[in-house]
Amino acid sequence: MPYDCIVCVKQVPDTANVTASAMNEDGTVNRAALPAIFNPEDLHALEAALEVRDRYGGTVTAISMGPPKAAEVLRDCLYRGADRVILLTDRRAAASDTLATSYILSQAIRTLGRYDLVFCGRQAIDGDTAQVGPQCAEKLGIPQITYMEQMGELREGIVRVRRNIGHGWEVVECPLPVLITVIPAANQPRPPAAKRVMRYKRARAAAELAAQVKAEMPEAPEDLIAAEVQRRVEALRAEGLLIEQWDLDRIGADLSRCGMAGSPTKVFRIQSIVLKREGHVQVPPTEDGIRQLVRELVVDRILG
């Protein structure tokens, strides 16, 4: 029996590998200088969906919400085997917190209509909140299974999953449809397939084409740019290489629940972690130095 899977993927700054070139003079991280990558756990979510399709048949649709540049991770989804990809992009969605983001994603999933399984990575490395998956499931009114570490059988509309519970694991069964969040232990993501890279490397979303045209013809009048974008969109569509692009109107979103307006949490203050040398007692690596240190710790009652 075939199953239709949806995967939510995100493009994130590579916060795990902050190199010297991404550091500011004052010792803080220059976020704009970090490379944008496929959120690592979302690759495992994509792999889980592809494995369901390979085993039982069906489809894999990947959705990414973000700026036009997020189409990069959708191309990666195509390279790895996704059947359909959708870029969810709209300026009015900017500054959404997890509640607004999950509302928008759930509206997009509703717009797709029929589905059996939704896969998400457990969390994204820029925020590490792990909230969007469960919140999406609640908005869709379907059960959630978090921290999947092993996919089990799918039989007669019931999925069996082994989930990590921190100090052990449990195996649960749940009727479909269900939303599952995936941790890296679940699988080994497949690499992009060379044939698919050749086939899809020119795939673009309309918003990417618009940025391209504007960069090529900075002086051109608006209507000329619009006409050129339209020409390129149609050309790609004819080749089957146009990445679907949806905005908030397309998914029937209530604007009061999107972006800043739909986000109850507000960032009040941001403090950069400064990697600056502060004062500490230098202890020489000698018998005398160490003896003195131990003596001090005893006097301070730190060593008993």
């Binding site: 059960p143 109850p264 960032v267 500490h280």
Partner: protein, 341 residues
């Protein structure tokens, strides 16, 4: 929901098979402090089956009211049934703050509840404070808001999050960062027996099998921790760290680099993705001090860093720095400790 400034400060009393999770008691202590500032009561939500015996400990650690939901269908946690309990009680009693441990259970449950209530939710806080906040956009002053403080962006920034008007203010709080108050058995509190209507739709999951591993390592309770990093170089070399830990009555921990290199098991990992610790003394050996590691140990009372690289970031948070080879330095420490006795 509209802000309810008379609302209580709530804690989810996470338990498993009738024993309370440490973080539940840590949160009771924090809730006590916040509630005293706000001049309101502390409520603890205790859901499960045959869990009444846990009420006294929650009160001794700071709760004024324990909302007890005892139902055999709550014997095992699942998102749907526990979310129904939380949403029902929050709608009835309108607390102003709800805290959960940032445990696998808390991080599964809290966002589901927040989504249903359309409330703000901040994950994995390392500190919570009460303060008046002026809204930058409107200039409006909001009295006594909950400042939800957490590392973000891979630990490169500390963000303070607030929730002006879609309450309750909800947060998960990292384990081990709030000190547990000593139990005060003379404290008085009340039990509120709560009934929550559960339906089959709240319990879609069937538990087939469960496997729990006993916690072998108790890093959170250690007074002294000797932690090794990638600079240790091999599994065998960790023996020296065990020797030092043994000599001063401490526990051994590790950075992610040491765990990823296979020198030591994952249960020893300290940092953003491991355990958060705040011992009296933390000895960082061969640890460079990536932000992810520092997030899990920088609250330690005293930090000694031993590293051959004088530029290692760990020195920026250390109280004592020893630039040198740990293979020479640790034996010196062992000798100095012996002399003392």
């Amino acid at each position: 929901m509209e802000p309810n400034r008379e609302g209580e400060v709530w804690v989810l009393a996470e338990q498993e098979d009738g024993s309370l999770h440490d973080v539940a008691l840590e949160l009771c202590g924090k809730a006590r402090q916040l509630a005293d500032q706000l001049n309101v009561k502390v409520g603890a939500v205790l859901a499960g089956h045959r869990v009444r015996h846990l009420v006294d400990r929650l009160i001794a650690h700071g709760a004024d009211r324990v909302y007890l939901v005892d139902d055999e269908r709550l014997a095992h946690y699942q998102t749907g049934s526990y979310a129904r309990v939380m949403c029902t009680l929050v709608e009835q009693h309108r607390p102003q703050i709800v805290m959960y441990g940032a445990t696998p259970l808390g991080r599964d449950l809290a966002p589901r509840v927040a989504s249903y209530l359309r409330a703000g939710m901040t994950a994995d806080c390392t500190d919570l404070q009460i303060s008046d906040v002026t809204e930058a956009r409107t200039g409006k002053v909001h009295k006594n808001l909950l400042l939800q403080i957490r590392p973000a962006f891979g630990g490169n920034i500390i963000a303070t999050i607030v929730n002006y008007d879609q309450w309750p203010q909800m947060a998960t709080v990292r384990e081990g960062v709030m000190p547990m108050l000593p139990a005060d058995h003379s404290r008085k509190g009340t039990v509120v027996e709560a009934q929550v209507a559960l339906t089959a739709a709240d319990m879609p999951l069937r538990l087939m099998e469960r496997h729990l591993e006993p916690r072998k390592v108790n890093l959170k309770g250690a007074r002294v921790i000797v932690a090794g990093g990638g600079g240790i170089g091999s599994k065998e070399n960790f023996r020296l760290l065990y020797e030092l830990a043994g000599a001063i009555g401490g526990a051994v921990g590790a950075s992610r680099a040491a765990v990823d290199s296979g020198y030591i098991g994952k249960e020893y990992q300290i940092g953003q993705t491991g355990t958060t610790v705040r011992p009296a003394l933390y000895i960082a050996v061969g640890i460079s001090g990536a932000v992810q590691h520092r997030a899990g140990m920088e609250e330690s009372a005293k930090i000694i860093a031993i590293n051959t690289d004088p530029q290692a970031p760990i020195f920026s948070i250390a109280h004592y720095g020893i630039v040198g080879d740990y293979k020479k330095v640790i034996p010196m420490m062992l000798r100095a400790l012996k002399e003392r006795k």
